[in-house]
Symmetry: C2
DNA sequence: ACAGTTTCCCGTAAATGC
DNA sequence: TGCATTTACGGGAAACTG
């Protein structure tokens, strides 16, 4: 009998569907005021209990400790009603679905010792579902608990919340269901963390991190020889995770294709970028993520030869703002440098190590850049956006004296000046009129 | 005594602060679930009533008619409490402020005759504030009513709602507080409507419509000789107002400066644009709003001469999406056309009638386009976005035979081809390598 | 003053109702 | 089915609150 009771008590399982379809799997973050769904399954196949079991959700049931000691917030359900376990369609098991749950903070925050209070995204809560059973003289209370959840009030907290969820998951075998995990969070081995990070990229961008990328991240995150990572280094302010999560979001929104297809080296230090590019042919470039921008940004670096010297340049990183207006492949395809005498050119020729630009990115171009057909739609001239820069002065050459190159350029410049007014039948407007000549 | 009662009954006045700071003046649109503030002022200066008068808001008090006959929605206050009239700080008058009111639709929508129901943005409601007074044997009920309000549930309705408010305001002298105004809305004279529209532009963009702009709008909106405008023409689907409001929003968000300073002709038909530009010198352009885009869009048209013919071209209109990435002055300053042999140039020289482009727009450029200083920030090359098009083929010339111009272009093209590999110390990559020459 | 946290609310997308 | 209307909620910014 006692066995049966125990069996029944463990037969109820909880399954939460998260509110954030945008976040990759694992339903452990809930936002106040936003609906989520919980499905309860009574694993014991006992149709005779059909419609006898009323299930009720309770927030943080029986967990006085964290609330009082650490001043955890407390939440209630906005519409707390119960559901009756009913027969499942296919299996015949008993199921109840709460399709409309949402949380609301209970104000009157306890006089909690607010000294060393945890960050709200480090509070772990649980939701229990309770029901009672009386049948044939048998009487038992059944309850089932969710995995720990992090409750946030704004999407600007989802990054930190996600850090907690990852850390919890990585420790869940050694510290099962410890709601005070973050009071004294155990450190992790890099090996473990790196794997978890890699999964994030797999989940968001359909491709894991390769060895080089992991190695660059390890250099940034691990600062001791024993490969241990501490929670505060990973998650606290100016942390690695916030930076990485910004990049994950950038990939999710604007770079899925490129990431999936492996064209983004991404995690390369400036220094290594220089080393890699320096020995490649001029015009070779690679894509890397900004290491300073916390919102996710991507730039390209390329190598040029000038006056016998080798230069590696990088453009100011593009953020989600720019990428909402122009896709990265289009930016790359149209990027141009304007130098003295307004000689302009696209310095990007080969994706590292030696893939011709259009071979790599041609498939993503919007208007088939290569054979651009003029389009006039509804009487309007089609238009596109391009990113351009002023050419960087190769250090130590032009300011000194006019080089041979420049003299030639000036000659062409003057020739064009004279031709241009005829070519375009314009009046003489040399100081305003502009014209470009492009060879390809 | 009856006089006094009447006096007191009229002494209470209502003042609603709207939720939409984004919309110009007139607090007559309320959105469900969004807070608004109501200030009540008891004009009779009677401090002896201090704290005696409890005021309570009531939605659509005593207006059974519209609700039942026309199936109006009904709303309740989310937190309906009362306030006590208290002494105002400066004047000594009595004041109560409801700072936290918001509306919620009462479901169980009456069995209302849902045939010819008005659109929800045509429902006019009122909010009354009631209080009672017993003093020295005097007993009277006091109530004050707000001006009519339009209640919406989403910002996607604000445009239509604003149309109703305007129409109501224009008729308010002849039809005071008629909540069923839109059951049979009286028409307006164009004179009146035009003035109101002009005020919208004044309010949003700090500049009214001029005679030419009004005249273009009149041509679009008025289709009869007696200058009368009917509500359905103004407000119903594919209506003039939705189009105009899109433009107002575009101005508010992206074009305030240009509009205020009068550089946007804006409301000009395509036909008139052609007429205006045709007789101007080549490179003359003007800014006009798209007549088809309902979300607000702006384009430029310019005149060119080619093969002795005059052509007027227009670029595909720019919407808020593009203007969030690049400002219109920057777009104009950087716009370029790419023609055969990749001769490219900026066709925009003079803002109509003859203002040099930079004289008009120079003040708005972001990086002082004119004397563009190369910038390298934090090791990154600065970059900008430019809009460009493929040059329209001047009808009837190039496809036939190679013109003199093109032969010259080809020659330059070949010259540059040969020079370019030296200039930039590149290996031979004639089919990928690109270069531009610009004269200015 | 300030940072962590929550609220507010637009604007878009999706869901709902008719 | 289509259109009118409402709901949902991310995301940026303001407001709160210790």
């Amino acid at each position: 009998r006692s066995l049966l009771t125990k069996l029944l008590a463990n037969a109820l399982v909880v399954e939460i569907q998260p509110f954030m379809s945008s976040l990759p799997q694992r339903p452990l973050i809930l936002k106040t005021g936003v609906r989520f769904t919980v499905t309860l399954r009574f694993l014991a196949n006992l149709p005779e209990f059909k419609c006898l079991l009323k299930v009720k959700p309770v927030f943080d049931k029986d967990v006085e400790e964290p609330m009082t000691v650490n001043g955890f917030r407390h939440f209630d359900f906005n519409r707390d009603d119960y559901k009756v376990l009913d027969v499942d369609t296919p299996g015949g098991g008993l199921v109840a679905e709460f399709g409309n749950l949402s949380l609301k903070e209970r104000k009157a925050r306890g006089k909690g010792t607010n000294e060393s209070r945890l960050a709200v995204t480090e509070e772990l809560h649980i939701i229990k579902f309770v029901t009672g059973l009386q049948h044939a003289g048998l009487k038992c209370n059944i309850e089932a608990s969710s995995l720990p959840v992090v409750v946030i009030s704004s999407t600007n907290q989802s990054s930190s919340a996600w850090a907690s969820v990852m850390w919890f998951n990585m420790l869940s075998t050694s510290e099962p269901r410890n709601l005070l995990l973050f009071v004294d969070p155990p450190p992790l081995m890099w090996q473990q963390l790196g794997q978890a990070l890699s999964w994030q990229f797999l989940s968001v961008g359909q491709r894991e991190l390769d060895e080089n990328q992991l190695s660059m991240l390890k250099d940034k995150i691990v600062d001791n020889p024993d490969d241990v990572v501490h929670w505060s280094n990973f998650s606290k302010n100016e942390s690695a995770w916030i930076w990485i999560d910004g990049i994950l979001n950038l990939i999710k929104r604007h770079l899925v294709d490129l990431w999936r297809d492996g064209f983004i080296m991404g995690f390369v230090s400036r220094k290594r970028t220089r080393v890699l590019l320096q020995e490649k042919q001029p015009g070779t470039f690679l894509l890397r993520f900004s290491e300073s921008n916390k919102d996710g940004a991507i730039t390209f670096s390329w190598v040029e030869h000038s006056n016998g010297e080798t230069h590696v340049h990088a453009v100011e990183p593009y953020t989600k703002q720019e990428l909402s207006a122009v896709s990265l492949p289009d930016i790359i395809s149209r990027y141009s440098l304007r130098a003295q005498w307004n000689v302009t050119r696209n310095p990007l020729l080969y994706l590292y190590p030696d893939i011709p630009k259009d071979t790599a990115f041609g498939r993503y171009y919007n208007n088939s850049e290569m054979s651009a057909p003029k389009k006039v739609v509804d009487g309007y001239l089609d238009r596109r956006l391009a990113s351009f820069s002023d050419s960087p002065t190769p250090p130590g050459s032009p300011p000194r004296e006019m080089s041979m190159d420049m003299e030639i350029n000036m000659e062409i410049h003057h020739m064009l000046m004279e031709l241009s007014s005829d070519l375009f039948e314009l009046p003489e407007l040399p100081d305003i009129y502009t014209s470009h000549l492009e060879c390809q």
